[in-house]
């Protein structure tokens, strides 16, 4: 069913609203802080409302398609939203709103705020653009903008470590981006058109060329999705970046790589062709290795943000595994895990940021007794850790349940061990943090520090609010799984569409 012109404007508006907000923020250097915050909050809420309405329209069956500008004589910059893109866009808008509100408190005493907010809002625009891309050229445009223009956020601290992490980030991301570019050019050459929808390739294309295109795509998106061994930038970029940006970096940006892999698997090649090619077994093996390997490495990290970064690599391995099984239930699990993971990891990074900011420690070994000083933060961390491990009835359980069903249905039963092993390892690297916070005695407080007077270093309400919202969402995402507007049902519908 085609949507009328009266609602189609929502699609470009969801991309251009944060874009305009970012441009305004760039020139907000001399504004009073309150005005900048108000403007950005309004823009962000508007974006969320637009993305939510688009999601509602798409699940109601509307065809949301808008052509913007003809970039080459053959190809338009074209936005077209399907269920997968709509869900991804709405999750991004939600997480960005939380991270923005969190930034108001977290970044208050940081430098160069207009630059930070400008690129922060722009990165939301590019992410929504990626989600709503209607063809591969549009996808490439937003994907590259998104990869390159987040560099200023990664190096925001301007310390030598941040610059080194930024260089590593940009080199990895550019190599990945170049592979994606080549794969898209090759796809265009072989299949033309390139509108995202029904699979572009069929069996008439020679197998060798299909394999070249597939591995180019997979290596390119694999860098972004932190598929081992292409994950090197993730553990460095996260600790270097400011915490609210780490939250979206882990929650949504790494997931963009897996979103790209979904597009390749479901919309470029199609599940049938890939089943014939037989490459997905290799991808599944890589993904399973990623899950376990990154989780083992996470156990040995003392820097809390670095530990969480490895956790992201491990969790994204689950998503890739879910795609690679080529099974509708596993794909449902993969899609919904992107949304669930966004808010779980967002909440964890919010907590890590509060701990770093308020207690001045970054290493796990110094966290002893933190629950006494920051009770709310510690409780949020504990609850989200359980969700991340996959404890019912929290968000992480839902996605892992579907992944498990998919593994059984596709008959590759060995991966059950990976699924459960990964969850156990998540317990091993997350729960000791909780244990230290609650059951170890705090180190004595140095006399004269602000802590000594109040005895508490709990964060102000402005920063606790987005954290609480993210935690509530992880609970809600675990509990509300049956209404038609719940991410799980949307993911199910999207997955069924791909396997029809």
């Amino acid at each position: 069913m085609g949507a009328g012109a009266e609602v189609l404007w929502m699609v470009p508006a969801a991309v251009f609203a944060p874009l305009a907000g970012g441009v305004a923020a760039a020139f907000s250097g001399s504004w009073p802080e309150a005005r900048r915050r108000a403007l950005l909050a309004v823009v962000s809420v508007v974006t969320l409302v637009l993305a939510g309405s688009v999601l509602a329209r798409v699940t109601a069956g509307d065809d949301m398609s808008v052509r913007l500008v003809k970039m080459t004589p053959q190809v338009w910059i074209h936005l077209r939203v399907d269920a997968l893109g709509a869900l991804y866009g709405a999750a991004a808008a939600g997480l960005w709103l939380l991270a923005l509100v969190y930034s108001f408190g977290y970044m208050a005493d940081e430098h160069r705020l207009s630059r930070y907010y400008a690129f922060f809002m722009l990165s939301l625009a590019w992410t929504v653009g990626v989600a709503y891309s209607g063809n591969l050229l549009t996808f490439l445009v937003f994907y590259e903008l998104f990869s390159i223009l987040t560099y200023p956020l990664v190096v925001h601290e301007e310390t030598p470590e941040a610059l080194a992490a930024g260089t590593k980030y940009i080199v990895y991301i550019l190599i990945g981006g170049s592979l994606v570019l080549l794969a898209i050019v090759y796809t265009y050459f072989l299949a033309g058109g390139q509108d995202i929808g029904a699979p572009l390739f069929d069996a008439s294309v020679p197998r060798s060329q299909l394999l070249v295109v597939f591995w180019c795509f997979l290596a390119g998106f694999g860098v972004k999705a932190a598929l081992v061994p292409l994950h090197g930038w993730v553990p460095d970029a996260h600790p270097a970046a400011p915490a609210p940006f780490s939250a979206v970096l882990s929650g949504m940006m790494v997931a963009t790589g897996t979103f790209g892999i979904m597009r390749v698997v479901f919309n470029v090649f199609g599940v049938r062709l890939l089943a014939e090619l037989g490459v997905m077994r290799v991808v599944a093996g890589l993904a399973a290795f990623t899950v376990v390997f990154a989780a083992v490495l996470a156990m040995h990290q003392d820097d809390i943000k670095r530990r969480l970064a490895y956790s992201t690599i491990s969790q994204m391995g689950y998503v890739t595994l879910g795609i690679a099984l080529l099974d509708p239930l596993a794909a449902t699990g993969a899609i919904v895990h992107v949304a669930n993971h966004a808010f779980m990891k967002g909440a964890l990074f919010f907590c890590a940021g509060l701990i770093i900011k308020r207690m001045g420690v970054r290493s796990v070994s110094e966290l002893a007794g933190a629950a006494k000083r920051m009770p709310v933060t510690a409780a949020a961390f504990a609850l989200t850790s359980l969700a991340m491990i996959g404890t019912p009835p929290l968000a992480g359980f839902v996605s892992k349940w579907y992944l498990g069903l998919g593994i059984l249905e596709s008959g590759q039963v060995a991966y059950i061990a990976v699924l459960i092993g990964g969850a156990l390892l998540a317990g091993v690297y997350l729960l000791p943090i909780v244990y230290r916070m609650y059951f170890r005695e705090p180190a004595p407080i140095a006399a004269g520090s602000p802590l000594a007077e109040s005895g508490s270093s709990e964060a102000p309400a402005t920063m606790l609010m987005p954290l609480a919202a993210a935690v509530l969402l992880t609970v809600a995402l675990g509990l509300c799984t049956t209404p038609s507007w719940s991410p799980l049902q949307i993911a199910k519908a999207a997955a069924e569409g791909f396997f029809r």
């Binding site: 970039m71 080459t72 903008l145 610059l163 080549l182 050019v185 050459f189």
Partner: protein, 497 residues
């Protein structure tokens, strides 16, 4: 309509030529009057060349016979889609002249300023003449006008190092012009005509192919020295880095393209006549293009001088275009032809922005310029837009060439060159990342750099017009791509592709 008047075509050359010659007389020693006159003349040139572009877009290529003497006997100007380069020349030349308003009196001794504008206008006239002439010998004449004014413009600051760079440029430029002249002479010997269209029809009937092969080789060699293809690039970095910044923009954006436009003309003659098979030449050019991309980027990484970096980056970009020529497929040639235009825009944006930064701060090394992003936010932002564009990040202008030439490589069944092209671009990004880091993210070395302020409007406006075009020409890529497509189809048509 106004654009249909036939005499616009000779005027496009005569206006800057005549206007340039009389500049010192009009200026009577005043830099300000010289600037006003030169800006007026270049604006008129833009208007005239715009008329020509409109005419060719509406009705296809057209000719002008001087004095009513029809070709092949009379002198012919011929305007086709490739000649639209003349409009880019006029437009960028005008922006460079506007930019020079405060820059020239600052960089040069006051009495030299009117002569500076004379040389710049003559350079523009020569470039326009080269792109519109339909006559082989006049190609040489206009090439010499461009080269001679180019040597003088590099040396004009009068510093010893500038004279050295100009001398190096002069020696290699003179050799390349001579090679091209020999080539033209041999073609004349074989065909008995100097008219390009006439030569194309007669070359196929040549009794022996050997002289034709030698003529083509000489011309290609001459043009490739002018275009600074690796390993014939040695004259370029010093000359482009040391010249005053508006001149660098003209030299790097426009003058090196002379060799490439010349190549397109030569291809037109040889492909149409099918006198010789160029596939081995094209094979060589594809390889040299790939090597040029990588080597240009490789040398640029080690430069600390910002203009030196930009100069080496030109070598990389020439590599893209030559690789597109060598692949000789529809997509690749369209991409190469469009990149001739787009690179001119992008590189001018970069050189003018760099010039504005040097003008304001007095520093030209990246290590001295740390923190300039704070001191000159608008200029540094324009430079960053240019950098993103030249690296080929979508949706900027530089991306189109990567997209099209990579497609062309697949079309020509030489996919490996698509890979070389895309990964060569990564090297290029490395040094632009260094630049961005220095501008924005590293601790300033000189405190004054962080509060110098943006340059006067006469510099800022041209810089931002160009930076905006870097974005617009990418998003509106359809316009140039459809514009040059007929010329490329005509060029490749005789090959039966």
């Amino acid at each position: 309509m106004w654009w249909q008047w036939p005499h616009w075509l000779p005027l496009a050359v005569l206006v800057p030529l005549g206007g340039g010659v009389v500049t010192p007389a009009v200026a009577r020693g005043s830099a300000r009057r010289a600037w006003g006159w030169a800006a007026g003349v270049s604006a008129a040139t833009v208007a005239v060349s715009l008329a020509l572009v409109i005419r060719v877009a509406r009705g296809g290529p057209f000719s002008y016979a001087f004095g009513g003497w029809q070709p092949p006997y009379g002198i012919e100007f011929r305007f086709d889609e490739v000649s639209a380069f003349a409009f880019v020349v006029a437009f960028l030349g005008a922006l460079a002249i506007v930019f020079s308003r405060q820059y020239a009196p600052h960089a040069l001794a006051e009495p030299r300023v009117p002569y500076y504008y004379t040389l710049l206008l003559l350079d523009i006239a020569g470039l326009i003449g080269f792109s519109v002439t339909g006559d082989l010998f006049n190609m040489y004449v206009f090439m010499e006008i461009v080269s001679l004014t180019g040597y003088a413009l590099v040396a004009i600051s009068g510093e010893r190092i500038a004279e050295m760079a100009a001398f190096k440029y002069l020696v290699l430029g003179a050799v390349s012009s001579l090679l091209a002249l020999f080539g033209i002479g041999m073609l004349y010997g074989v065909t008995g005509t100097l008219n390009i269209a006439d030569a194309a029809s007669r070359l196929g009937a040549a009794a022996s192919t050997m002289p034709v092969i030698v003529a083509v080789a000489l011309l290609v060699l001459g043009f490739m020295v002018k275009a600074a293809l690796f390993p014939l690039h040695v004259w370029l970095p010093d000359a482009h880095a040391i010249a005053p910044s508006p001149v660098s923009a003209v030299l790097s954006g426009l003058v090196v393209k002379l060799g490439l436009v010349g190549m397109l003309r030569l291809y037109g003659v040889v492909y149409a006549s099918r006198a010789v098979d160029l596939s081995s030449l094209n094979w060589l050019l594809t390889w040299l293009g790939a090597v040029s991309i990588v080597m240009g980027a490789f040398f640029a990484i080690f430069q600390d001088d910002i203009k030196m970096m930009l100069a080496y980056s030109t070598i990389s970009n020439i590599g893209y275009i030559v690789m597109g020529f060598g692949l000789a497929s529809q997509y690749a040639l369209v991409g190469a032809a469009v990149h001739i235009f787009n690179h001119a825009l992008i590189k001018s944006a970069l050189f003018l922005a760099a010039g504005a930064i040097i003008y304001q701060t007095g520093y030209r090394r990246l290590s001295d310029l740390r923190g300039v992003g704070r001191g000159m936010p608008l200029t540094a932002a324009a430079l960053s837009v240019g950098a993103v564009s030249i690296v080929g990040i979508p949706p900027t202008a530089g991306f189109l060439c990567k997209w099209y030439i990579a497609l062309g490589a697949f079309e020509a069944k030489r996919a490996a060159f698509g890979f070389a092209l895309v990964f060569g671009a990564l090297f290029i990004f490395v040094y632009y990342i260094r630049m961005v880091n220095a501008f924005y993210f590293q601790e300033p070395v000189h405190a004054d750099v962080t509060h110098v302020g943006d340059p006067p409007l006469s510099m800022l406006v041209p810089v931002w017009i160009l930076a905006a075009l870097c974005l617009i020409m990418g998003l509106a890529g359809k316009v140039p791509l459809t514009f040059v497509a007929p010329a490329v189809s005509r060029l490749l048509g005789p090959l039966g592709g």
